[in-house]
Amino acid sequence: MRPRFTLSRQLAVERTWPFFIDLSVAAALLAGFYAILWIAKFWFSAAIPEIEIHLAPSHLPLYAFYSIVRIFVAYALSLAFAIAYGYTAAYNKRLEALLIATLDILQSIPVLSFLPGVMLAMISLFPSRQLGIEMGAILLIFTGEVWNMAFSFYTSLKSIPRELMEACEIGRFSRLQRLFQLELPFAAIGLIWNSIVSVANGWFFLMVCEMFPVGSRNYRLPGLGSYLQTAASEGDFRAVTWGLVAMVLIIVVTDQLLWRPLIAWSDKFKFETVESEERVTSSVLHALRNSRVVATIERRTFRPMSEWFYNSLAERKRKHPPQAPRTESRRGVTAIYIAVGLVALAGILFAASDAVRMLRDIHRSEFFTLLAGAGLTFLRVNAALLFASLWTIPVGVAIGFQPRLSHILQPIAQIAASFPATALFPLILLALARIGVSLGIGSVVLMLLAAQWYILFNVIAGAQAIPSELKEIATLFRFSNVQRWTTVILPGIFPFLITGLITASGGAWNASIVAEYFQLRGHTLMTLGLGAQISAASDHANYAVLLAGTMIMALMVVTINRLVWRPLYHLAETKYRLD
């Protein structure tokens, strides 16, 4: 047996740490408290007519802070929603198929085309305009963050071994106790990795939705996204640079202070019962675990509270002996389901018919332009995927094959991937404009930026999953390079590559809305494409075209998923499995 913590050279360091760490923890608590006060004051202030974005770097910390709050409020909402959604889908047999199908479709719908609609709805919903815009932005970020987490939680629940569930039942765990004792821990690792992806997605959308025009009005929230956009449209290079530096800082700090400690901590939730050799370590986590203040707080407040909480869950169960009259309540439940279902159906039908009526306003020529745009965007998306694959496959395989290289490069790549492509758009467009590349081609570059990481990470994982015996055989039989690639590497990474491409293609479609239509230095750059048409429609408050464009895009994404990616994925799962 191995001891859990090795007491070795680190002992000397540990002694000096707690004091320092204790101070930081105290400071962090204070800061958190202050931040909450600030936010409340800002949110509930009276309507601010039009916010001005100052480009002086001294305003940046505050803007960055607002953006971070938005991201994490949206994240907290997504987490709660994902857990509720995944739980319902996993345990409610009646709703399961429906919920999962909904998830699949919602995932394929371009979030950004809902921007104007959501904003307007939220603004009219909240009397204070500021709060309305704020809620709208958070809601959009939320929709960018939530689906993969819900899906992850659902799959985790579904794969809990039957014996563990039975152990809970025989141990008389109540449902909530089981949630905290079994389901959440079991799902923790998946949730954490998906949270990283989600937050990165959140930043991607935040860059766009903090500032956008609808019709004649310009909606703005103070934040990093609006800062960067303003800087870009005014052509202020210095400000753009400052904004990017702030973004990089935020991402590195989040990675070091949040994700790494979380990943290291979640190691204990690994379900495989063998010890794996590769572990993420985090000095922050280590320090927290050895901090006296944290330990005291844990012992004095957290532990008694969780104890009390847990007990209260237990007692409630005991007062209601199981299986009271069941059939009647069942029937009642069924009736409620049906009623709710009918009301929802009526609502949906009403809204849908209204929407279709709106589509009649579209002129036939407009409709053909939309289709032409869809075709062009389709070509761009695929070009972006192709170029992304061209560089990510060799690089990903190289990283995956060399543990030492991957040890150094993977964390860097992770940080790079968390960087929202939308923040880089202005810079890249300026550069492209200088060398005379049109937006038609430039947008491909932008989509590539948004999509490449998904492919890279999957290729790395695929290369790592190729058994070393196969590689050795290739060496032993002196395979030529071509042979090595066609018989070992490409088939080996194929399933992973497909997974990466599916996700990347979704990302590229979504990016097209921003990439094909851009405000730079006071004028609008645009090219023919579905994304541009959606953006322009929302810009000019042309809701009929907006709706038609969104529907076409969602349809295309769903159709491509069904007709191309799913069969390929099936092929990958059956023929190219390496186990």
């Binding site: 047996m1 859990r4 039975e166 025989i170 008389r172 765990f173 004792q181 063998v274 010890e275 002996p321």
Partner: protein, 449 residues
């Protein structure tokens, strides 16, 4: 006689397959568990042992009949039971102590109380000093000790165990068995009865006061008898081995003890699984069958299977499917616990590989309906390929979904070996292996020249 703790009255279990067809896993069964006894439940794989255990413990509700605890329906009481699982079912993110405390915590017990009780039980199962370890740091045997501690800490009235020792190596399992018996006999634990599901005849005879043998399709009680041997039992004792041999005979001759089967219940159709058209294919590999036959020949053409397993230091239940397969193919006969080779079996074992395949092919087509059907379907179809669904549809009249898949897998492995057909995994279709077929027949006479 004292009142039973658990009484099962006509319990049965079926799983819905479609609207009006369902698979009966347990036929209506009466069973009672009395205080002071260790009951072992034996039976072939898939006979419904785990299903029965789950119903008795209140984990799953019977489809018909009732399970009574002290005369009350199990659904309306909350019986104090525990289960020890084959897979341990520990929470990997909790320490040993936290794992053991978990059921007490769920009941809302005070921190100090549950600490004391858990530490005491950890001490009892020989785990003191390991409280702070995590399950993944422990060996299999240690993990199962945690499993036992977690089960015993609630002082269950009845302790259920589903193959608790089968994931452990032989020595560890032996140790743990002995310790459990000691706890039970010295009354260190307040448990009133133990219900043990096992595959291992030897284990059952070693531990149990009473042995129940289940037959399958659907599960029904074949025999239920007391073990009159005094404790501690000696495995070398002749009475012990005789009992083991007897149980082995019962298990290998499914037709000796007839069982009453209901045909209609509640107006719904219930399949009498014993009239099934498909024989259940034992999940054995052709190579294993050949090896077994060779061994029997080495033992003079006839040998006691239990001894054979012992000789090979095989678990008897690993040997089971292979013996059954040899019997099904007509290569061996089972007589009174002995396996005897048939002339066909001898011819098969002593031929060279191509001839072997030919003999296997013949035997398979003669004795196995499913293989016969696949070959015939392939021969009759113009494109010589048939999707698996075709056979799944026919099989699922008789077997559960999982079992259908396993049946097909075994059929594929046999058919491929016999070169009856080939299997295209990406299209999930059977295809005719015409090509190889002809080649073999061309080549077969060659060595004779």
């Amino acid at each position: 006689m004292t009142d039973p703790i658990i009484q099962a009255r006509q319990v049965e279990k079926f799983y819905a397959q479609s609207r009006d067809a369902r698979i009966q896993v347990i036929a209506p069964t009466d069973l009672a568990i009395y205080p002071g006894e260790i009951v072992a439940l034996l039976g072939p794989s898939g006979s419904g042992k785990s299903t029965l255990l789950r119903m008795l413990s209140g984990l799953s509700r019977p489809s018909g009949g009732a399970v009574l605890w002290h005369g009350q329906d199990v659904a309306s009481t909350q019986p104090n039971v525990s289960i020890v699982f084959q897979s341990f079912a520990l929470f990997p993110w909790l320490t040993v102590l936290e794992n053991v405390e978990a059921p007490l915590k769920a009941r809302g017990m005070e921190v100090m109380d549950r600490h004391r009780r858990s530490l005491k039980i950890l001490d009892t199962v020989g785990l003191d000093g390991f409280e702070a370890a995590y399950p993944r740091e422990l060996s299999g045997g240690m993990r199962q000790r945690v499993g036992f501690a977690r089960a015993l800490v609630v002082e269950p009235e009845v302790l259920f165990m589903d193959e608790p020792f089968s994931a452990l190596d032989v020595l560890t399992a032996d140790n743990l068995r002995g310790e459990l018996l000691e706890l039970w006999q010295k009354k260190t634990i307040p448990t009133k009865a133990i219900f043990l599901v096992t595959h291992n005849i030897d284990e059952a005879v070693f531990l149990a006061d009473r042995i129940i043998v289940l037959g399958r399709n659907p599960g029904h009680v074949r025999t239920d008898f007391r073990v009159a041997l005094a404790q501690p039992r000696d495995r070398k004792d002749s009475a012990f081995t005789a009992l083991v041999d007897y149980i082995y005979k019962v298990l290998t001759q499914p037709d000796v003890v007839p069982a009453e089967m209901p045909v209609i219940a509640g107006g719904r159709r219930i399949r009498d699984q014993r009239q099934m058209r498909y024989e259940m294919l034992p999940h054995a590999r052709p190579g294993g069958i050949a090896a077994l036959l060779e061994l029997i020949i080495d033992f003079g053409g006839r040998t006691d299977i239990y001894r054979l397993a012992d000789e090979l230091s095989f678990e008897i239940d690993d040997l089971f499917p292979i013996v059954e397969a040899a019997q099904l193919l007509g290569f061996a006969k089972i007589e009174e616990g002995d396996a005897a080779i048939t002339p066909e079996g001898r011819a098969y074992a002593e031929s060279e590989i191509l001839r072997q395949k030919e003999l296997f092919r013949q035997a398979a087509v003669d004795h196995v309906l499913l293989l016969r059907q696949i070959t015939r379907a392939l021969a009759n179809k113009s494109d010589h390929s048939v999707p698996e669904e075709f056979f799944l549809d026919m099989l699922d009249e008789q077997f559960s979904d999982d079992e259908c898949r396993r049946q097909l897998e075994t059929a594929i492995s046999w058919g491929r070996y016999a070169e009856l057909f080939d299997w295209d995994d990406s299209r999930r279709r059977f295809v005719l292996a015409e090509h190889e077929h002809e080649e073999i027949q061309d080549r077969a006479p060659e060595p004779a020249k």
